[in-house]
Symmetry: C2
Subunit: 237 residues, 2 copies
Protein backbone atom coordinates (compact mmCIF):
# COMPACT_ATOMS: atom_id res chain seq x y z
CA UNK A 1 0.00 0.00 0.00
CA UNK A 2 2.63 2.49 1.11
CA UNK A 3 4.74 1.48 -1.86
CA UNK A 4 1.79 1.94 -4.22
CA UNK A 5 1.29 5.35 -2.73
CA UNK A 6 4.93 6.30 -3.40
CA UNK A 7 4.68 4.98 -6.95
CA UNK A 8 1.51 6.96 -7.57
CA UNK A 9 3.20 10.10 -6.29
CA UNK A 10 6.18 9.52 -8.57
CA UNK A 11 3.90 9.06 -11.59
CA UNK A 12 2.05 12.25 -10.77
CA UNK A 13 5.31 14.16 -10.43
CA UNK A 14 6.57 12.69 -13.69
CA UNK A 15 3.41 13.80 -15.44
CA UNK A 16 3.92 17.31 -14.09
CA UNK A 17 7.57 17.24 -15.18
CA UNK A 18 6.59 16.16 -18.72
CA UNK A 19 4.00 18.95 -18.82
CA UNK A 20 6.69 21.49 -17.89
CA UNK A 21 8.99 20.22 -20.64
CA UNK A 22 6.15 20.27 -23.18
CA UNK A 23 5.40 23.86 -22.22
CA UNK A 24 9.09 24.76 -22.48
CA UNK A 25 9.27 23.03 -25.88
CA UNK A 26 6.25 24.91 -27.23
CA UNK A 27 7.68 28.21 -26.07
CA UNK A 28 11.12 27.45 -27.52
CA UNK A 29 9.57 26.52 -30.86
CA UNK A 30 7.62 29.80 -30.90
CA UNK A 31 10.78 31.76 -30.02
CA UNK A 32 12.71 30.07 -32.80
CA UNK A 33 9.94 30.70 -35.38
CA UNK A 34 9.68 34.36 -34.35
CA UNK A 35 13.46 34.85 -34.59
CA UNK A 36 13.34 33.56 -38.18
CA UNK A 37 10.42 35.87 -38.92
CA UNK A 38 12.40 38.82 -37.51
CA UNK A 39 15.26 38.04 -39.91
CA UNK A 40 13.04 37.42 -42.93
CA UNK A 41 10.75 40.47 -42.52
CA UNK A 42 13.34 42.80 -40.89
CA UNK A 43 10.80 43.03 -38.07
CA UNK A 44 12.57 44.57 -35.09
CA UNK A 45 9.40 44.56 -32.93
CA UNK A 46 9.19 40.76 -33.17
CA UNK A 47 12.93 40.55 -32.48
CA UNK A 48 12.49 42.59 -29.28
CA UNK A 49 9.69 40.21 -28.22
CA UNK A 50 11.97 37.20 -28.66
CA UNK A 51 14.71 38.90 -26.61
CA UNK A 52 12.29 39.76 -23.79
CA UNK A 53 10.58 36.36 -23.74
CA UNK A 54 13.82 34.37 -23.38
CA UNK A 55 13.51 34.87 -19.61
CA UNK A 56 10.32 32.74 -19.72
CA UNK A 57 12.25 29.81 -21.19
CA UNK A 58 14.98 30.23 -18.57
CA UNK A 59 12.34 30.27 -15.82
CA UNK A 60 10.86 26.98 -17.07
CA UNK A 61 14.34 25.45 -17.09
CA UNK A 62 14.67 26.40 -13.41
CA UNK A 63 11.27 24.77 -12.74
CA UNK A 64 12.48 21.55 -14.41
CA UNK A 65 15.63 21.61 -12.27
CA UNK A 66 13.58 22.09 -9.09
CA UNK A 67 11.11 19.35 -10.02
CA UNK A 68 13.86 16.85 -10.89
CA UNK A 69 15.98 17.57 -7.79
CA UNK A 70 12.89 17.02 -5.65
CA UNK A 71 12.11 13.75 -7.43
CA UNK A 72 15.70 12.51 -7.08
CA UNK A 73 15.88 13.44 -3.40
CA UNK A 74 12.44 12.29 -2.23
CA UNK A 75 11.62 9.37 -4.54
CA UNK A 76 15.14 8.00 -5.11
CA UNK A 77 14.19 6.58 -8.51
CA UNK A 78 16.09 3.59 -9.87
CA UNK A 79 16.73 2.17 -13.35
CA UNK A 80 14.09 3.28 -15.90
CA UNK A 81 12.69 6.00 -13.64
CA UNK A 82 16.14 7.44 -12.95
CA UNK A 83 16.84 7.41 -16.69
CA UNK A 84 13.62 9.31 -17.39
CA UNK A 85 14.34 11.94 -14.72
CA UNK A 86 17.95 12.48 -15.80
CA UNK A 87 17.03 12.71 -19.48
CA UNK A 88 14.42 15.34 -18.58
CA UNK A 89 17.14 17.59 -17.11
CA UNK A 90 19.17 17.26 -20.29
CA UNK A 91 16.22 17.84 -22.63
CA UNK A 92 15.35 21.02 -20.71
CA UNK A 93 19.00 22.17 -20.91
CA UNK A 94 19.00 21.57 -24.69
CA UNK A 95 15.77 23.57 -25.09
CA UNK A 96 17.25 26.40 -23.04
CA UNK A 97 20.27 26.50 -25.35
CA UNK A 98 18.08 26.45 -28.49
CA UNK A 99 16.12 29.39 -27.09
CA UNK A 100 19.44 31.19 -26.43
CA UNK A 101 20.39 30.74 -30.07
CA UNK A 102 16.98 32.11 -31.10
CA UNK A 103 17.57 35.14 -28.85
CA UNK A 104 21.01 35.77 -30.31
CA UNK A 105 19.61 35.45 -33.85
CA UNK A 106 16.89 37.97 -32.95
CA UNK A 107 19.53 40.39 -31.60
CA UNK A 108 21.57 40.16 -34.77
CA UNK A 109 18.44 40.62 -36.92
CA UNK A 110 17.99 44.07 -35.37
CA UNK A 111 21.51 45.13 -36.36
CA UNK A 112 21.02 43.55 -39.77
CA UNK A 113 17.78 45.43 -40.41
CA UNK A 114 19.79 48.66 -40.35
CA UNK A 115 22.26 47.57 -43.06
CA UNK A 116 22.13 46.09 -46.51
CA UNK A 117 22.41 42.32 -46.35
CA UNK A 118 22.32 40.45 -49.68
CA UNK A 119 18.66 39.29 -49.99
CA UNK A 120 19.63 35.85 -51.29
CA UNK A 121 21.88 35.34 -48.25
CA UNK A 122 18.98 36.25 -45.96
CA UNK A 123 16.86 33.75 -47.89
CA UNK A 124 19.57 31.14 -47.23
CA UNK A 125 19.32 31.75 -43.48
CA UNK A 126 15.57 31.31 -43.71
CA UNK A 127 15.95 28.03 -45.61
CA UNK A 128 18.37 26.64 -43.02
CA UNK A 129 16.16 27.94 -40.21
CA UNK A 130 13.05 26.25 -41.57
CA UNK A 131 14.82 22.89 -41.69
CA UNK A 132 15.85 23.20 -38.03
CA UNK A 133 12.43 24.50 -37.01
CA UNK A 134 10.72 21.49 -38.61
CA UNK A 135 13.17 19.15 -36.86
CA UNK A 136 12.49 20.90 -33.53
CA UNK A 137 8.71 20.54 -33.99
CA UNK A 138 9.07 16.84 -34.84
CA UNK A 139 11.38 16.04 -31.94
CA UNK A 140 8.96 17.71 -29.51
CA UNK A 141 6.15 15.56 -30.94
CA UNK A 142 8.42 12.50 -30.59
CA UNK A 143 9.04 13.45 -26.93
CA UNK A 144 5.33 13.98 -26.19
CA UNK A 145 4.33 10.66 -27.84
CA UNK A 146 7.40 8.59 -26.79
CA UNK A 147 7.82 8.00 -30.53
CA UNK A 148 11.34 6.61 -30.99
CA UNK A 149 10.92 6.08 -34.75
CA UNK A 150 10.05 9.75 -35.20
CA UNK A 151 13.06 10.74 -33.07
CA UNK A 152 15.26 8.57 -35.25
CA UNK A 153 13.94 10.34 -38.35
CA UNK A 154 14.88 13.71 -36.80
CA UNK A 155 18.33 12.36 -35.90
CA UNK A 156 18.89 11.28 -39.51
CA UNK A 157 18.02 14.74 -40.83
CA UNK A 158 20.96 16.40 -39.00
CA UNK A 159 23.22 15.49 -41.91
CA UNK A 160 21.09 17.47 -44.37
CA UNK A 161 21.08 20.44 -42.01
CA UNK A 162 24.88 20.33 -41.81
CA UNK A 163 25.14 20.21 -45.60
CA UNK A 164 22.83 23.19 -46.06
CA UNK A 165 24.83 25.06 -43.39
CA UNK A 166 28.14 24.36 -45.11
CA UNK A 167 26.73 25.49 -48.47
CA UNK A 168 25.40 28.69 -46.94
CA UNK A 169 28.73 29.35 -45.30
CA UNK A 170 30.60 29.13 -48.59
CA UNK A 171 27.99 31.35 -50.22
CA UNK A 172 28.47 34.01 -47.53
CA UNK A 173 32.26 33.95 -47.96
CA UNK A 174 31.74 34.48 -51.71
CA UNK A 175 29.51 37.51 -51.11
CA UNK A 176 32.13 39.06 -48.86
CA UNK A 177 34.92 38.48 -51.34
CA UNK A 178 32.92 39.86 -54.25
CA UNK A 179 31.75 42.97 -52.43
CA UNK A 180 33.67 43.96 -49.29
CA UNK A 181 30.91 46.43 -48.40
CA UNK A 182 28.76 43.43 -47.40
CA UNK A 183 31.37 42.12 -44.93
CA UNK A 184 29.77 43.48 -41.74
CA UNK A 185 26.28 42.27 -42.68
CA UNK A 186 27.59 38.91 -43.87
CA UNK A 187 29.51 38.43 -40.62
CA UNK A 188 26.20 38.72 -38.75
CA UNK A 189 24.69 36.23 -41.17
CA UNK A 190 27.65 33.86 -40.59
CA UNK A 191 27.01 33.91 -36.85
CA UNK A 192 23.26 33.50 -37.38
CA UNK A 193 23.91 30.48 -39.58
CA UNK A 194 26.20 29.06 -36.90
CA UNK A 195 23.53 29.69 -34.22
CA UNK A 196 20.92 27.87 -36.26
CA UNK A 197 23.24 24.96 -37.04
CA UNK A 198 24.11 24.65 -33.31
CA UNK A 199 20.38 24.72 -32.46
CA UNK A 200 20.05 21.83 -34.92
CA UNK A 201 22.76 19.92 -33.00
CA UNK A 202 20.74 20.34 -29.81
CA UNK A 203 17.60 19.10 -31.60
CA UNK A 204 19.62 16.00 -32.55
CA UNK A 205 20.69 15.61 -28.91
CA UNK A 206 17.04 15.72 -27.83
CA UNK A 207 16.26 13.02 -30.41
CA UNK A 208 19.00 10.87 -28.80
CA UNK A 209 17.52 11.51 -25.36
CA UNK A 210 14.01 10.52 -26.50
CA UNK A 211 15.51 7.22 -27.64
CA UNK A 212 17.57 6.83 -24.46
CA UNK A 213 14.68 7.44 -22.07
CA UNK A 214 12.44 4.99 -23.91
CA UNK A 215 14.88 2.22 -24.79
CA UNK A 216 18.06 2.83 -22.76
CA UNK A 217 19.90 2.99 -26.08
CA UNK A 218 21.36 5.82 -28.12
CA UNK A 219 21.03 5.77 -31.90
CA UNK A 220 24.77 5.29 -32.22
CA UNK A 221 27.53 4.66 -29.73
CA UNK A 222 29.57 7.45 -31.24
CA UNK A 223 28.15 10.52 -32.90
CA UNK A 224 28.62 10.55 -36.65
CA UNK A 225 30.65 13.72 -36.34
CA UNK A 226 33.74 11.79 -35.33
CA UNK A 227 37.32 12.66 -36.07
CA UNK A 228 36.74 11.96 -39.76
CA UNK A 229 34.63 15.08 -40.10
CA UNK A 230 37.00 17.36 -38.19
CA UNK A 231 37.89 19.48 -41.14
CA UNK A 232 34.55 19.63 -42.86
CA UNK A 233 31.26 20.95 -41.54
CA UNK A 234 32.24 20.98 -37.89
CA UNK A 235 34.89 23.63 -38.42
CA UNK A 236 33.30 25.36 -41.38
CA UNK A 237 34.16 27.93 -42.61
CA UNK B 1 25.54 8.02 15.85
CA UNK B 2 23.77 6.89 12.68
CA UNK B 3 23.34 10.54 11.79
CA UNK B 4 27.05 11.27 12.37
CA UNK B 5 27.84 8.34 10.17
CA UNK B 6 25.66 9.74 7.37
CA UNK B 7 27.24 13.17 7.77
CA UNK B 8 30.73 11.71 7.60
CA UNK B 9 29.82 9.81 4.46
CA UNK B 10 28.46 12.98 2.88
CA UNK B 11 31.65 14.89 3.71
CA UNK B 12 33.78 12.15 2.20
CA UNK B 13 31.68 12.11 -0.94
CA UNK B 14 31.88 15.90 -1.13
CA UNK B 15 35.65 15.76 -0.87
CA UNK B 16 35.73 13.23 -3.70
CA UNK B 17 33.41 15.41 -5.77
CA UNK B 18 35.63 18.48 -5.23
CA UNK B 19 38.67 16.42 -6.22
CA UNK B 20 36.94 15.41 -9.47
CA UNK B 21 36.10 19.04 -10.26
CA UNK B 22 39.66 20.15 -9.46
CA UNK B 23 40.99 17.48 -11.79
CA UNK B 24 38.52 18.55 -14.48
CA UNK B 25 39.53 22.18 -13.97
CA UNK B 26 43.26 21.43 -14.29
CA UNK B 27 42.65 19.45 -17.46
CA UNK B 28 40.43 22.17 -18.96
CA UNK B 29 43.05 24.82 -18.19
CA UNK B 30 45.73 22.70 -19.91
CA UNK B 31 43.46 22.17 -22.93
CA UNK B 32 42.79 25.88 -23.19
CA UNK B 33 46.50 26.76 -22.92
CA UNK B 34 47.43 24.18 -25.54
CA UNK B 35 44.75 25.43 -27.94
CA UNK B 36 46.24 28.94 -27.69
CA UNK B 37 49.70 27.50 -28.27
CA UNK B 38 48.43 25.68 -31.36
CA UNK B 39 47.13 28.97 -32.78
CA UNK B 40 50.24 30.99 -31.87
CA UNK B 41 52.84 28.49 -33.10
CA UNK B 42 50.78 26.97 -35.96
CA UNK B 43 51.42 23.70 -34.15
CA UNK B 44 49.01 21.15 -35.61
CA UNK B 45 50.40 18.29 -33.47
CA UNK B 46 49.39 20.13 -30.29
CA UNK B 47 46.02 20.93 -31.86
CA UNK B 48 45.43 17.24 -32.54
CA UNK B 49 46.28 16.47 -28.91
CA UNK B 50 43.67 18.98 -27.69
CA UNK B 51 41.05 17.47 -30.00
CA UNK B 52 41.81 13.92 -28.80
CA UNK B 53 41.95 14.83 -25.10
CA UNK B 54 38.55 16.54 -25.05
CA UNK B 55 37.02 13.11 -24.39
CA UNK B 56 38.87 13.07 -21.04
CA UNK B 57 37.11 16.27 -19.95
CA UNK B 58 33.75 14.85 -21.08
CA UNK B 59 34.44 11.66 -19.10
CA UNK B 60 35.12 13.68 -15.92
CA UNK B 61 31.86 15.57 -16.45
CA UNK B 62 30.04 12.23 -16.52
CA UNK B 63 31.82 11.24 -13.27
CA UNK B 64 30.62 14.49 -11.64
CA UNK B 65 27.06 13.78 -12.79
CA UNK B 66 27.20 10.25 -11.36
CA UNK B 67 28.69 11.41 -8.07
CA UNK B 68 26.12 14.20 -7.63
CA UNK B 69 23.11 12.05 -8.57
CA UNK B 70 24.25 9.46 -6.01
CA UNK B 71 24.66 12.14 -3.34
CA UNK B 72 21.24 13.65 -4.08
CA UNK B 73 19.51 10.27 -4.05
CA UNK B 74 21.23 8.65 -1.06
CA UNK B 75 22.08 11.59 1.21
CA UNK B 76 19.13 13.87 0.41
CA UNK B 77 21.15 17.01 1.23
CA UNK B 78 19.29 20.12 2.38
CA UNK B 79 20.09 23.86 2.40
CA UNK B 80 23.85 24.54 2.22
CA UNK B 81 24.74 20.98 1.25
CA UNK B 82 22.17 20.94 -1.54
CA UNK B 83 23.53 24.27 -2.78
CA UNK B 84 27.06 22.88 -2.86
CA UNK B 85 26.03 19.74 -4.75
CA UNK B 86 23.92 21.62 -7.31
CA UNK B 87 26.62 24.23 -7.92
CA UNK B 88 29.10 21.41 -8.52
CA UNK B 89 26.98 20.09 -11.40
CA UNK B 90 26.90 23.56 -12.95
CA UNK B 91 30.63 24.22 -12.49
CA UNK B 92 31.40 20.90 -14.20
CA UNK B 93 29.02 21.79 -17.05
CA UNK B 94 30.77 25.17 -17.47
CA UNK B 95 34.20 23.50 -17.56
CA UNK B 96 32.94 21.03 -20.14
CA UNK B 97 31.78 23.91 -22.34
CA UNK B 98 35.10 25.78 -21.93
CA UNK B 99 36.94 22.63 -23.01
CA UNK B 100 34.60 22.40 -26.04
CA UNK B 101 35.56 25.92 -27.02
CA UNK B 102 39.25 24.99 -26.66
CA UNK B 103 38.65 21.98 -28.90
CA UNK B 104 36.91 24.06 -31.55
CA UNK B 105 39.72 26.64 -31.42
CA UNK B 106 42.26 23.85 -31.88
CA UNK B 107 40.31 22.51 -34.89
CA UNK B 108 40.24 25.93 -36.51
CA UNK B 109 43.98 26.43 -35.82
CA UNK B 110 44.70 23.44 -38.05
CA UNK B 111 42.79 24.96 -40.97
CA UNK B 112 44.40 28.33 -40.25
CA UNK B 113 47.93 26.89 -40.28
CA UNK B 114 47.41 26.06 -43.97
CA UNK B 115 46.49 29.61 -45.00
CA UNK B 116 47.83 33.09 -44.55
CA UNK B 117 46.26 34.76 -41.54
CA UNK B 118 47.40 38.32 -40.75
CA UNK B 119 50.06 37.87 -38.01
CA UNK B 120 48.78 40.83 -35.98
CA UNK B 121 45.28 39.32 -35.96
CA UNK B 122 46.70 36.04 -34.70
CA UNK B 123 48.51 38.04 -32.00
CA UNK B 124 45.16 39.60 -31.08
CA UNK B 125 43.63 36.15 -30.55
CA UNK B 126 46.56 35.26 -28.31
CA UNK B 127 46.12 38.44 -26.26
CA UNK B 128 42.40 37.76 -25.74
CA UNK B 129 43.15 34.12 -25.00
CA UNK B 130 45.73 34.93 -22.34
CA UNK B 131 43.24 37.16 -20.49
CA UNK B 132 40.67 34.36 -20.40
CA UNK B 133 43.28 31.78 -19.49
CA UNK B 134 44.42 33.87 -16.49
CA UNK B 135 40.79 34.31 -15.41
CA UNK B 136 40.22 30.55 -15.70
CA UNK B 137 43.29 29.80 -13.57
CA UNK B 138 42.19 32.30 -10.91
CA UNK B 139 38.61 31.05 -10.75
CA UNK B 140 39.84 27.48 -10.30
CA UNK B 141 42.04 28.68 -7.42
CA UNK B 142 39.04 30.53 -5.99
CA UNK B 143 37.00 27.31 -6.21
CA UNK B 144 39.71 25.20 -4.56
CA UNK B 145 40.20 27.72 -1.71
CA UNK B 146 36.55 28.82 -1.32
CA UNK B 147 37.93 32.33 -1.95
CA UNK B 148 34.91 34.52 -2.74
CA UNK B 149 37.00 37.72 -2.98
CA UNK B 150 39.16 36.15 -5.66
CA UNK B 151 36.05 34.95 -7.51
CA UNK B 152 34.69 38.50 -7.36
CA UNK B 153 37.92 39.79 -8.90
CA UNK B 154 37.53 37.31 -11.79
CA UNK B 155 33.91 38.36 -12.23
CA UNK B 156 34.94 42.02 -12.49
CA UNK B 157 37.46 41.25 -15.21
CA UNK B 158 34.80 39.98 -17.64
CA UNK B 159 34.19 43.56 -18.77
CA UNK B 160 37.81 43.97 -19.89
CA UNK B 161 37.62 40.67 -21.77
CA UNK B 162 34.49 41.85 -23.58
CA UNK B 163 36.18 45.10 -24.53
CA UNK B 164 39.25 43.35 -25.92
CA UNK B 165 36.96 40.98 -27.82
CA UNK B 166 34.99 43.85 -29.38
CA UNK B 167 38.21 45.63 -30.39
CA UNK B 168 39.56 42.46 -31.96
CA UNK B 169 36.32 41.94 -33.82
CA UNK B 170 36.45 45.38 -35.43
CA UNK B 171 40.11 44.82 -36.29
CA UNK B 172 39.26 41.57 -38.06
CA UNK B 173 36.47 43.23 -40.06
CA UNK B 174 38.99 45.90 -41.16
CA UNK B 175 41.48 43.28 -42.35
CA UNK B 176 38.78 41.61 -44.42
CA UNK B 177 37.65 44.86 -45.98
CA UNK B 178 41.20 45.94 -46.81
CA UNK B 179 42.23 42.63 -48.31
CA UNK B 180 39.43 40.26 -49.34
CA UNK B 181 42.02 37.48 -49.79
CA UNK B 182 42.17 37.28 -45.97
CA UNK B 183 38.40 36.72 -45.62
CA UNK B 184 38.48 32.96 -45.16
CA UNK B 185 41.31 33.10 -42.60
CA UNK B 186 39.74 36.03 -40.77
CA UNK B 187 36.40 34.22 -40.59
CA UNK B 188 38.15 31.43 -38.69
CA UNK B 189 39.73 34.05 -36.43
CA UNK B 190 36.30 35.65 -35.86
CA UNK B 191 34.91 32.31 -34.68
CA UNK B 192 37.99 31.67 -32.55
CA UNK B 193 37.58 35.07 -30.91
CA UNK B 194 33.91 34.28 -30.27
CA UNK B 195 34.86 30.89 -28.79
CA UNK B 196 37.34 32.51 -26.43
CA UNK B 197 34.91 35.25 -25.41
CA UNK B 198 32.23 32.62 -24.70
CA UNK B 199 34.76 30.62 -22.65
CA UNK B 200 35.29 33.84 -20.68
CA UNK B 201 31.52 34.05 -20.04
CA UNK B 202 31.60 30.55 -18.58
CA UNK B 203 34.58 31.52 -16.37
CA UNK B 204 32.41 34.38 -15.09
CA UNK B 205 29.57 31.93 -14.44
CA UNK B 206 31.93 29.75 -12.40
CA UNK B 207 32.94 32.82 -10.38
CA UNK B 208 29.23 33.41 -9.63
CA UNK B 209 28.84 29.78 -8.58
CA UNK B 210 31.86 29.96 -6.24
CA UNK B 211 30.13 32.90 -4.56
CA UNK B 212 26.74 31.17 -4.53
CA UNK B 213 27.98 27.93 -2.99
CA UNK B 214 29.86 29.81 -0.26
CA UNK B 215 27.43 32.62 0.54
CA UNK B 216 24.10 31.74 -1.07
CA UNK B 217 24.40 35.03 -2.97
CA UNK B 218 25.29 35.92 -6.54
CA UNK B 219 27.48 38.95 -7.24
CA UNK B 220 24.53 40.69 -8.86
CA UNK B 221 20.87 39.81 -9.19
CA UNK B 222 21.02 40.50 -12.89
CA UNK B 223 24.03 39.96 -15.08
CA UNK B 224 25.62 43.15 -16.27
CA UNK B 225 24.93 42.19 -19.84
CA UNK B 226 21.30 43.27 -19.58
CA UNK B 227 19.17 44.71 -22.33
CA UNK B 228 21.29 47.89 -22.33
CA UNK B 229 24.19 46.00 -23.90
CA UNK B 230 22.08 44.30 -26.57
CA UNK B 231 23.61 46.09 -29.47
CA UNK B 232 27.18 46.33 -28.29
CA UNK B 233 29.53 43.50 -27.38
CA UNK B 234 26.90 40.81 -27.05
CA UNK B 235 25.99 40.96 -30.71
CA UNK B 236 29.38 42.03 -31.99
CA UNK B 237 30.38 42.10 -34.83
Amino acid sequence: MANDHILKRFDEELERLNATINEMGGLTEAQFAKALQAVRDRDTAIAEEVIADDARVDALDVVVQEQTVKMLALRQPMAVDLRVVLSSIKIAAALERIADYAKNTAKRSIVLAQGSAPPSAVAGIDRLGRLVRAALKDVLDAFADDDVAKARDVWDRDEEIDQVYTGLFRELLTYMMEDPRTITACTHLLFMAKNIERAGDHVTNIAELVSFRNTGQNFAEARRKGSGALYTTDTAP
